[in-house]
């Protein structure tokens, strides 16, 4: 009998619910039963509620079983799962699972499919096409293609990537840098991590294209320490890329130079802010810099620097490979291409949903997400991380794109959605937003550093029923000061979750003496 291929993710999320143990148990039994199997540790498909998702190659198809626990393994062997046998955990052909099949995977097209560290897999699934094209055209043409595609920054601010690149390309300097922001501090987001673990060459390819386009020879990935598996995966991928001449002094025989190294964060949310990140890479306290100068002019060590999020850079290979027209045929208005949404929190079917901008909030929460994990009604959804707005079920019609979310009093941020059931108390969440700001503030501006602590105290007074009406007014005043008087979005946007909670859930801020503990 020929060797049977089995895919079991090594993704941190899958491992956190037992994927390593399942892989071990399957290997052990296969040996005991004298079956020849090859276990490939892929990335996750992003359907995290199915993890650990075990896939078996049967002919041309991959048949899935999930979520598998060690205790299920004996039963799976009995059901002949290695031949695609029926079992209650069987989800049939994984590619035909509607949850996945209905997505539009561009940036994430290889994630979960390939062996993340196999260059052969990478290339035979469309990898390196973008880089080869970039090497064949001029720098100006690369930047024009990225600009034309409409690709905007996926880290939060949504600034057009091509315009940033153009500024750096026009800056005259021997030394320039590409800094990849892999700090991914927002609660409810994990797409950067999943991509770095599941398809790290895509990020490396994107950074290399950026380097060629702007004339930078050095790339730095600033990745948070909370992601040890992603760090290890990137280190391995960089070494392999160097060996295969995808990085180094002569990229794919072109004579062009580009290298990538990693810097690891140290547990600071504000270091995701781009200038604080630069300070941190320079080995200093992560204090936000005033702008100007823009990092594109004077960034890392004072040199012109492209700073882009993992997803922005990882979308570039597809833009170059398939062309700007293809990319921008997706999405709506000025939000073009696909967004990698992350559905999290109290959700039945959480994970990665990549689809064109303009999908409704309801479709993401109810159709993909399937409602709450607890089975209780959805009460609130926070969109865009800890600085993003809390929306209610009455807001479910919102179109998920940059402009519509701003119009609704929110923001897309890094594309994370955190779902809460009816047990959530939005006054408590508003207080947490202020507390989080107090913990993570870099300390440079008073409204952020002190206002956040005062804000948390004031919300507690409202919760306890002390002069709630005047304290609500005070809180709104404070929010205004923070919005207007903060240097960066840490202090500037903390009022967003607070005010949206007050607007969309006023009942939670009503006098609560009777329920106060």
């Amino acid at each position: 009998m020929s060797t049977i291929k089995i895919f079991i993710p090594r993704d941190s999320a899958a491992v956190s619910v037992g994927a390593d143990d399942v892989a071990l148990e399957i290997a052990r039994r296969a040996v005991a039963e004298n079956l020849s199997v090859e276990i490939i540790r892929n990335g996750t498909r992003g359907a995290l509620w199915l993890e650990p998702l075990v896939e078996v190659q049967v002919g041309a198809d991959r048949i899935g079983y999930g979520p598998v626990q060690v205790a299920d393994v004996a039963d799976l062997f009995k059901a002949k799962f290695l031949e695609g046998g029926a079992h209650q955990l069987c989800i049939n052909k994984v590619d035909e699972l509607p949850w996945l099949a209905e997505q539009d995977r561009i940036t994430f097209k290889r994630v979960g499919i390939i062996d993340p560290l196999s260059i052969v897999d990478y290339e035979s699934n469309g990898g390196l096409v973008g880089l080869r094209r970039a090497l064949a055209i001029s720098e100006k043409e690369i930047i024009a293609e990225v600009t034309e595609s409409g690709l905007r920054g996926r880290g939060g601010a949504g600034f057009p990537a091509g315009i940033k690149w153009k500024t750096v390309s026009e800056a005259s300097s021997e030394t320039k840098y590409i800094c990849c922001n892999a700090d991914e501090g927002d609660s409810g987001t994990f797409a950067d991590r999943i991509l770095m673990e599941g398809d790290p060459f895509t990020l490396i390819e994107g950074m290399t294209i950026a380097g060629i386009a702007v004339g930078a020879k050095e790339g730095i990935i600033y990745i948070r320490s909370e992601y040890p598996a992603a760090i290890a995966q990137l280190e391995a991928a960089i070494a392999i890329a160097q060996e295969f001449k995808l990085l180094g002094p002569n990229i794919l025989g072109s004579g062009r130079t580009f290298n990538v190294k990693i810097r690891i964060g140290a547990g600071s949310y504000v270091c995701g802010e781009e200038t604080a990140m630069l300070e941190s890479i320079e080995g200093k306290r992560g204090v936000v810099r005033s702008k100007p100068p823009l990092p594109a002019i004077s960034g890392l060590f004072g040199k012109p620097t492209v700073i882009n999020n993992v997803l922005t850079l990882s979308s570039v290979p597809a833009v170059l490979a398939d062309g700007a027209a293809s990319y921008k045929s997706r999405g709506v208005g000025r939000s073009l291409g696909t967004q990698i949404f992350q559905i999290a929190g109290n959700v039945k079917r959480g994970g990665i949903v990549e689809t064109g901008f303009g999908i409704t909030l309801e479709k993401l929460v109810m159709d993909y997400g399937g409602g709450t994990f607890s089975g209780k009604p959805v009460k609130a959804v926070q969109i865009g991380g800890p600085l993003g707005a809390y929306f209610a079920v009455k807001n479910f019609g919102i179109s998920m794109d940059y402009e519509s979310l701003i119009a609704a009093g929110g923001m897309l941020g890094h594309g994370g959605l955190v779902i809460f059931d009816e047990n959530v108390d939005l006054a408590v969440q508003a207080k947490f937003a202020m507390e989080f700001c107090a913990i993570e503030s870099c300390g440079k501006c008073t409204p952020c550093r002190l206002g956040s602590t005062r804000g948390a105290e004031t919300i507690q007074l409202i919760i306890d029923g002390h002069n709630p009406e005047s304290n609500k007014k005070l809180l709104l005043d404070l929010c205004e000061v923070m919005t207007d008087g903060s240097l960066c979005a840490m202090g500037g946007l903390t009022p967003m979750p607070v005010k949206s909670a007050m607007i969309n859930f006023p009942e939670d801020f009503d006098s609560r003496v009777e329920v106060a503990k």
Binding site: S12, A13, V15, S16, V17, L48, W49, E51, E184, G185, D186, S187, G188, T189, F190, D192, R193, I194, S225, E226, Y227, A229, R263, I264, G265, A266, G267, S268, Y269, S280, I281, E282, G283, K284, R285, G286, V287, F301, Q342, I343, A344, G345, N346, V347, G350, G351, F373, S374, Q382, P386, G416, V418, I419, F420, D421, V424, Q429, F432, F436, E440
Partner: protein
Amino acid sequence: MSTATWSKDHALALLEPLRHEPGPVLIALQALQAEFGYVHVEAVALVATFFNVSRADVHGVLTFYHDLRTTPPLANAIHICVAEACQAVGSRDLEKALKNQYKDQVTDAYCFGNCALGPAVMVNGKLIGRATAAKIAAVIR
């Protein structure tokens, strides 16, 4: 994850490969913590002298970052995520239970990127999804 006992000579040997790194202070402190489990008080002056920066600079970095600690590690490092997505699935209750049981071995954390399978807890470097007190008890030292 056993750690070495603090010694200046051992520390200097760890700093040596970083001598030509641009902006070395943070990575130097990270390297020392990785080896010894914490940053010893004597490390501040050592790092400052080695890289020719002020002690205030080193101290400033040491106190800014939540990861860096100045006291030896405890038997277990239990980091519970108390960010929003994990709050939504009961991480606050789990936090209370864990702090009751494991006291100061428990530290709050803000997101491990496992927000669809929360509560997320990292115990001695191992990430646990859909965490419960029982799952944590099973991996504790």
